[in-house]
C-alpha cells in the first residue's frame, strides 16, 4: 500500500462527476429539442380513468423525515470517525478495538434512547372510515322494500 499519491488520481472522480451532471443536462435539453411541441388541452388531462390530482405536487412532507434525517447525520458522522480506525486497525489490535467499542457503546445509548422514545416509529395516517357493521342508507332500503313488494 503506497501512502503518497498524485493529484491526478482524483481525475476519474472529477470525470465521473462532470459526466453525471452532463448526462442530466444533456438528456433534458435533448428531450426538449426533439419532442413534439403539440399542446392541446386533452394532453394535460389525467389518462382515461386516472385520478384527477388534488392540489399541487409541492406538498408538505411528513415531519418524521426530518427526525430520521437528523438521526442519519449523527450515525453518518459516527461512520466517518470510524474510517481512520479501520485503516490502522492492525496496528492497534485489541486496544484500539476496545476504544472503538466504547465509542460505539455511547452512540448505542443514543439509539436506545431514540427507540425508547419511539422516535423511530413512523406516524401512520389515521384511517378515515369507521370499522363495524355496514349500515345501508335509508334510500337504498326503500328501493329494496319496493322491489320486494312488487
Amino acid at each position: 500500500m503506497q501512502d503518497s499519491y498524485a493529484l491526478w488520481m482524483y481525475l476519474p472522480g472529477l470525470i465521473l462527476f462532470i459526466g453525471g451532471v452532463a448526462f442530466v443536462i444533456l438528456n433534458v435539453v435533448l428531450s426538449h429539442l426533439i419532442h413534439p411541441h403539440v399542446r392541446t388541452h386533452e394532453k394535460y388531462l389525467a389518462y382515461e380513468c386516472g385520478e384527477d390530482p388534488i392540489g399541487g405536487a409541492w406538498i408538505q412532507f411528513n415531519h418524521r423525515f426530518y427526525l430520521l434525517a437528523l438521526a442519519f447525520v449523527v450515525f453518518d458522522v459516527e461512520v466517518v470517525l470510524l474510517f481512520p480506525w479501520v485503516v490502522v486497525f492492525r496496528e492497534f489490535g485489541w486496544f484500539g478495538f476496545i476504544e472503538v467499542l466504547v465509542f460505539i457503546a455511547v452512540l448505542l445509548f443514543g439509539l436506545a434512547y431514540a427507540w425508547r422514545k419511539e422516535a423511530l416509529v413512523w406516524d401512520k395516517p389515521q384511517p378515515m372510515y369507521q370499522a363495524g357493521p355496514v349500515t345501508v342508507p335509508a334510500v337504498a332500503q326503500e328501493v329494496r322494500t319496493d322491489g320486494a313488494s312488487s
Partner: protein
C-alpha cells in the same frame, strides 16, 4: 509543465463553479433551487480540500455535508408548509451591519493569509492522511475521539426532544 498548467486551469474552473453556485445560493429566489446550488458549492469545496492535500477531509466533506446536511436542509424546506412559493431573498433591512460584518471578516481573513509567508512554503506532499489521523485519534487524541461520541448522542437526544414536542400537539 503541461501538468501544472492543466492543474491550474482545473483549479480556476472549480473555483468558478464554487463561487458561482455560492452566489446562486445567496441571491436565488427559490429556496429549493438555492439548496441544490449549495450541492455544487459543497462539491467545489471538497475539490479544494483535495487540492490542499487533505483527502480525508474531502471525503468527510462529501459524506457528511452533501450526504447528510444537504439532505437535512432539503427536508427542512419540504417540511415547511408553503415555503416554496415564497420569495425568500433577504431584504436590505440589515445592509449596513451586513456590509460592516462582511468587510471585517474579509479583513481578518486577509490578515491571516498575509501573516503566512506562502511563497516561502513548499506545498504539502500528496499522501493518504486517513492512517495518520487514525493513529492520532487512537493515541494522542483519544479523549476528544470519545467525547465526539458523547456530543453526537447529545445531538441525537436533543433532536428527539425537540421533535417529540412537535408531535405531541
Amino acid at each position: 509543465m503541461v501538468d501544472v498548467w492543466l492543474e491550474r486551469i482545473l483549479f480556476y474552473g472549480l473555483a468558478l463553479v464554487t463561487v458561482g453556485s455560492a452566489l446562486v445560493v445567496t441571491f436565488g429566489r427559490n429556496l429549493v433551487r438555492s439548496a441544490f446550488a449549495l450541492f455544487f458549492t459543497l462539491m467545489g469545496m471538497a475539490a479544494m480540500f483535495v487540492y490542499l492535500a487533505a483527502d480525508f477531509v474531502a471525503l468527510v466533506h462529501i459524506l457528511v455535508y452533501i450526504g447528510g446536511i444537504l439532505v437535512l436542509i432539503l427536508f427542512g424546506i419540504w417540511l415547511t408548509h408553503r415555503v416554496i412559493d415564497l420569495d425568500i431573498r433577504a431584504g436590505r433591512i440589515q445592509l449596513i451591519p451586513g456590509l460592516i460584518l462582511g468587510l471585517v471578516l474579509m479583513g481578518l481573513l486577509g490578515l491571516t493569509i498575509r501573516s503566512f509567508n506562502l511563497a516561502a512554503r513548499t506545498p504539502a506532499p500528496y499522501r493518504a492522511t486517513a492512517s495518520g489521523i487514525g493513529r492520532l485519534l487512537l493515541s494522542t487524541y483519544l479523549l476528544p475521539f470519545e467525547i465526539a461520541s458523547v456530543a453526537l448522542v447529545v445531538a441525537l437526544v436533543g433532536a428527539i426532544v425537540i421533535g417529540r414536542r412537535e408531535t405531541s400537539r
